[in-house]
Symmetry: none
Subunit: 413 residues, 2 copies
């Protein structure tokens, strides 16, 4: 079963609006068992809309269209739909009444634009919209169902959830698709795919594996397709178990969980507290941790010691250690973590010292070098990493490296 | 001049990743004078990629392609490109060397997949990628230029900014389009458009004004179109001067500058230093400040005092003040700023205390309330704001409010 998506609107093409509608629709349609095979974005222009509609006709079972409806853009999309489906605009009394009621509720008088909104192509089936003025419209042509919806996200979602998804599930019940995500950290996509070569070779034909890398994190997605939900879920579960056997140290979470959510949950479960002592990450780890609601239960605070005087002053690092080893060194990272843990009186502490770039590198310690350290009741660990040259990416990667070390230390107790 | 966008990747179709690349590309291409007429998203599948390429051939001057490159998906996109452009894969030595250097820097061994990444279609022109392993590739067919880039946003942006946009600007120079952005902060889009009603009415027909709101910041973009660069620049300059007259307090920068860049530049120019004392912003202000290259010249560090014990301990706030007024109060915000300034021995300090939510609000102090304070040699100021209920948005808005107060104090100081 194939589905397509058409999004209409100049604002999507010139970058003024990021298209979140199609991601939402794509997810719902995938979960309903469809292969979402193509997405097209076009201008509010008659010809462009007609071309997009033609592209899908007879090739996809369902096409979801959003945007191009509403008081200002109606003039183009609805006549284009009429032309394509060889029909004409007629006033729909049910829609007219709903619009009248909505305007009354909001205290606005009906105007000519509102009554024009009650016009729909005669051959379509109207899908009522209780949260806006533009209704959904269901067309069929050469075996393809076209559903046109307004672009306002909550109106689109209302029509999808109230009308489209239930009807589609009734019409197409042949196939089930199940997705499962495992979040991994620690090796590059290339290394990961080497490690998983045998795993991939052993996948049953119902299950596909996708690599979704982003900022040093590789999301692994298993997708199972078949007739029986039970069977596919069972197949997926067995592959998840195999993945845990193959790369036990690399999987840090299931589904879409972030590092900060995972470490936060681990701390909360154990009633443990955390502080950070950050140099090169400049407060980003504290920011990540405190982006999670409820983080005040386990996060005490941070010292961002960007200047060496703050390392020796507030964090009480012996200036001789910095003098001997440099600020970016194992002993300084460990002293930062240990001293912060004492100052904050926390169970765990995380420290970073490194060179985010673009400047500040030396032959000895190049840009991208970081020492991360974690201190806890069971001791202090420090690990060195060398990443790339891009400052923002480095700050992010340094922070993830620190949180990964923290996660492992919390688990190992 | 028409431009098209192709984004490749299953994750974009099934809604796991929201496509921000194409919005960014759409904006840049529009600003370069192109009509971005169509955007297509397809699977990592040979046939789908070939179809998408065909759709644009001879119809658009430029087609930007992102995604489908990288160690695991290379196998599909690159052969598809070879098939479409009737060429074959060959190892590119320059790319091979760059990948080798990058892997060495990161301490990973080269593997077979990495060297496969150095293979490029023979007929393409390679656009080097200094921030990742997959290069950009420039093809031409029937008057259409196709540029294939990796899907990792900062890699795509690097290739666009270093190679694609400069070359495209050289190739297509028929009409002059001049953009000028003014960054404003302090009032909503609706209030701003009221304030600018008269200004807009007085715009010459060559100049358009667009409002681009995002996270409390309203970017105003003036776009001038015409034949003569001199004339259009002159017209724009006059409108910029009018804007400064109309809303002098609201414009904090020109062009795309962020608050952290502006405040950083102001501090650097004056040889002044800064520290932060953050409660509800949890290190985000320090993170914003230190995202700017060179920030170590003026930023000393931060105390993130998330827990009240850290406010009274490390920041030495009198517990009686917290007891009397609560942690979210004017006296606490001012004491945080003043004490941090002393502890760090800095010229300026910024402090925040508030309730980011979703929990922690009371009848008296609801979620979204924040006190921001700035201390300097000329005294201490504190301002209260009440924003919304969404945690991430609040952290961002609290930080901007603090940086705006800082900016005004630096200028007036």
């Amino acid at each position: 079963m194939r589905a397509g998506i058409i999004t209409i609107g100049d604002e999507l093409l010139i970058g003024q609006t990021i298209d979140t509608n199609s991601a939402w629709i794509g997810e719902k349609m995938s979960l309903a068992g469809f292969d979402v095979c193509r997405k097209i974005t076009v201008h509010d222009k008659r010809e462009d809309i007609l071309n997009a509609l033609s592209d899908f006709t007879g090739k996809s079972e369902v096409v979801l269209i959003t945007g191009g409806l509403g008081p200002t853009s109606d003039d183009i999309t609805k006549p284009a739909l009429c032309e394509f489906f060889k029909t004409r605009l007629v006033v729909n009394n049910e829609v007219l009444e709903m619009i009248g009621q909505m305007m009354m509720r909001r205290g606005f008088p009906m105007n000519e634009k509102n009554s024009k909104q009650a016009e729909v192509p005669e051959s379509c089936r109207v899908l009522t919209n209780a949260v806006g003025t533009a209704p959904g419209m269901w067309f069929e042509k050469e075996g393809t169902r076209f559903i046109s919806m307004p672009g306002v996200p909550y109106e689109m979602k209302y029509i999808m959830e109230q009308h489209v998804l239930p009807e589609i599930r009734k019409l197409f019940t042949s196939q089930v698709i199940v997705h499962k995500n495992l979040m991994t950290y620690g090796v590059s996509e290339a290394v990961l795919s080497d490690l998983l070569e045998e795993f991939e070779a052993g996948l049953p034909e119902e299950i596909r594996l996708a690599y979704l890398p982003s900022w040093g994190i590789n999301k692994l997605r298993l997708t199972g397709t078949g007739k029986s939900l039970e069977e596919i879920k069972d197949l997926i579960d067995r592959q998840v178990a195999r993945l845990y056997q193959t790369i036990p140290d690399l999987i840090y979470a299931e589904d879409e969980q972030t590092f900060e959510e995972v470490t936060g949950r681990l701390l909360a479960q154990r009633h443990k507290t955390l502080c950070t002592a950050e140099s090169c990450t400049g407060g980003n780890i504290a920011h990540m941790i405190t982006s999670v609601p409820g983080s005040s239960a386990y996060f005490l605070g941070s010292v961002v010691a960007y200047d060496n005087r703050i390392k020796t002053g507030l964090l009480k690092i012996d200036p001789a250690i910095i003098g001997q080893h440099g600020a970016v060194s194992e002993p300084v990272a460990m002293a930062m973590a240990e001293n912060a843990r004492k100052i904050f009186n926390s169970d765990f502490s995380v420290a970073t010292t490194g060179i985010a770039g673009p400047d500040g590198g030396t032959n000895d310690k190049r840009v991208g070098t970081v020492w991360v350290s974690v201190a806890s009741g069971s001791g202090t660990l420090a690990v060195k990493h060398v990443f790339g040259t891009e400052r923002i990416a480095n700050i992010r990667r340094f922070s993830l490296a620190a949180l990964d070390l923290l996660r492992k230390q919390i688990i190992s107790g």
